[in-house]
């Protein structure tokens, strides 16, 4: 992060644009100087003169000369990002916030519940967990998307299934011909995973409705409040706890999160709104 001025960017050029699904693309960026981040931390990505938006890198935190940002087309600025071609120059601020406490997962089973574009930060986490897999008992990814076409990072699943200790489960709301995995909301996958709950942590990242029902299901399964890690989606803007757009009760999501335990946030009013 630039310490001379919190609001100034470092530049990054677009090296490649990967189409992940009809609505989701990944920009492969080359920052002008090595860029280090911890998995789960986020950046503000600036389109010169138009605006900026927060994204958690989807690439490995071990790689510092490239950065991948996965973007769902949902509005004005994301539509502009989708139109970018290799060679475009963007601005980046960050990294900001508190990411996943990977060291706290050591010696445990990790179940990860993801939905839609929520798989972006999870992919980065999976890279980080792969790097320390000797210290983990088991990593189970449960991922839900609307349709098989909306399922992103398709090669990731086949690769993860070849890695010792890693397992994946997928579901879709609406199947298409050839789909032979689960059908239904993402939380149904939790019924299949058979975790050693006492010795486990859960990570949830996805749309608010999935965050809510995923968390409630995990609690029903016996997970304690401090075993559940949530990646909160808020309108982070300044990234440094000043602009107020991401305030969630006493927390500034940009500074105190975006990763929280359920224990930290459960008493906030309208948490899932």
């Amino acid at each position: 992060m630039r310490t001379d001025n919190l609001y100034k960017v470092i530049k990054a050029s677009v090296e490649e644009v990967i189409e992940e699904s009809p609505l989701i693309k990944t920009l492969v960026l080359t920052p002008e100087s090595p860029f280090r981040f911890n998995t789960g931390e986020f950046i503000e990505l600036t389109l010169n003169g138009y605006g900026e938006a927060p994204f958690t890198p989807s690439s490995s935190p071990l790689i510092t000369d490239k950065l991948e940002i996965t973007i769902m087309k949902t509005g004005y600025i994301t539509e502009k990002f989708h139109k970018l071609k290799p060679g475009a120059v963007l601005g980046m601020r960050g990294p900001f916030g508190r990411g996943y406490p990977v060291e706290k997962f050591f010696g445990k089973e990790v179940v990860i519940l993801g939905g839609g574009c929520g798989l972006a930060p999870i992919r980065s986490l999976l890279f980080a967990l792969e790097n320390v897999k000797d210290k983990l008992k088991r990593v189970v990814l449960c991922y839900g998307s609307k349709t098989p076409s909306d399922c992103i990072y398709k090669p990731l699943f086949s690769r993860l299934n070849t890695i010792d200790k890693f397992e994946t489960f997928r579901t879709v709301d609406k199947p298409e011909p050839g789909w032979n995995e689960s059908v239904g909301v993402a939380t149904i996958l939790l019924d299949k995973v058979n975790m050693d709950i006492e010795n486990s942590v859960a990570v949830v990242c996805g749309p608010p409705v999935m965050m809510k029902f995923g968390t409630l299901r995990l609690l029903e399964m016996g997970y304690r409040d401090n075993q559940i890690y949530l990646s909160m989606e808020k309108n982070m803007s300044c990234g440094v706890g000043k602009c107020g757009h991401c305030m969630m009760g006493e927390f500034f999501v940009c500074k105190d999160g975006p990763v929280f335990t359920y224990e930290e946030v459960k008493s906030l009013p309208d948490l899932w709104k």
Binding site: Y7, A53, P208, F251
Partner: protein, 333 residues
């Protein structure tokens, strides 16, 4: 007790006039629309109004301008003196400092403006209809948080420095032969004026609950009361703009990766809306409630200080005539 320096009003006015060249001096003067800060020059140094509550604008406007390019350095920022900031605004500034001068992410632009400015706070001997600082533990005179505190009577200005910057200012600019020893009887006069203001504030606001009680009531409040008051709100954001502790802003992107910080408020629709369309503050009553929960519950939890200084400006600025103190009394059994 800090040293008190006494200078005749006439000499003080002459001094302020002469300093208006090396400094930008802002002080309250009576204008058509009421009392507000004005840039002072030789001719207007005598128009400064002392020791009455309160300029229309909060002192935050000098440190958080409505719009500011935060990526282009400002060259030769002129040194500034603010005279007449009321104690409620000084209390607000302490919270701004906690937010903007956070150890890990201090805002250099805010810091530069703070360092560049000498603040001379002034006692309030008269109060306005909606002033309620004492209910929130703030006296109508500053004992810290400013560089110098100013009290006055008809003949003299009394200056009490609270910082090294304030001390240096007095030593540098006030000729020793103009400084008089303060007589105890004069201090008694000032103490009397202060006590009168405190008593008047306490009496006027005797039914208004304190900050902790207010915060607790808000935590357990019914949505119906909020809806009742919010039904009159038009989300104009005047309450936030005029509030000494509302500091939220928007970053606007300009060419060459420049960014302009513009004051914003949670009262505007879409303040918290995320790309997917979810908007926690979509409903007006939730948005309306958010500002009060922020002030009386969340900021105290976060910064150990309530984010309302009792200045009453939000009540005066509200075009829907929403009186937040009436709301608070209704929320508190």
């Amino acid at each position: 007790m800090n040293d008190i320096y006494k200078i005749s009003l006439e000499e003080w006015q002459r001094l302020v006039g002469s300093l208006s060249s090396p400094y930008d001096i802002f002080a309250p003067v009576r204008k058509e629309g009421g009392l507000d800060y004005s840039l002072i020059n030789q001719e207007t140094a005598g128009d400064i109004v002392y020791n009455v509550a309160k300029p229309a604008s909060p002192v935050k406007i000098f440190f958080l301008p409505v719009k500011l390019n935060v990526t282009v350095p400002v060259n030769h920022l002129k040194k500034t003196i603010i005279i007449g900031a009321p104690a409620c605004d000084i209390a607000g500034l302490k919270l701004l400092d906690k937010i903007y001068l956070d150890e890990k992410f201090f805002d250099g632009i805010y810091l530069e403006r703070r360092n560049n400015t000498l603040i001379i706070s002034s006692d309030c001997y008269t109060i306005q209809d909606h002033c309620h600082c004492t209910t929130y533990g703030i006296n109508p005179y500053s004992a810290d948080g400013c560089d110098i505190n100013l009290s006055s009577d008809k003949e003299y200005i009394y200056l009490m420095p609270y910082t090294e910057k304030g001390d240096l200012f007095i030593k540098e600019y006030i000729p020793a032969n103009l400084i008089f020893n303060t007589g105890e009887n004069k201090i008694d006069t000032i103490s009397g004026l202060r006590s009168q203001a405190v008593n008047s504030l306490n009496d006027r606001n005797k039914n208004l609950p304190g900050t902790e009680e207010t915060g607790e009531s808000m935590k357990h409040s019914s949505k119906e009361t909020w809806k009742k008051y919010a039904s009159k709100c038009v989300s104009c954001g005047a309450c936030s703009a005029i509030c000494p502790t509302c500091t939220c802003f928007l970053l606007i992107d300009k060419p060459d990766f420049e960014k302009v910080k513009q004051l914003d408020t949670c009262q505007y629709p879409a303040f918290e809306r995320v790309a997917g369309g979810e908007d926690p503050l979509k409903e007006l009553s939730i948005r309306f409630r958010n500002r009060y929960l922020c002030k009386y519950v969340w900021k105290p939890e976060r910064f150990h200080t309530v984010a309302c200084t009792g200045c009453g400006r939000c009540i005066e600025a509200c075009i829907a005539k929403i009186n937040k103190n009436e709301l608070i009394m209704e929320l508190t059994p």
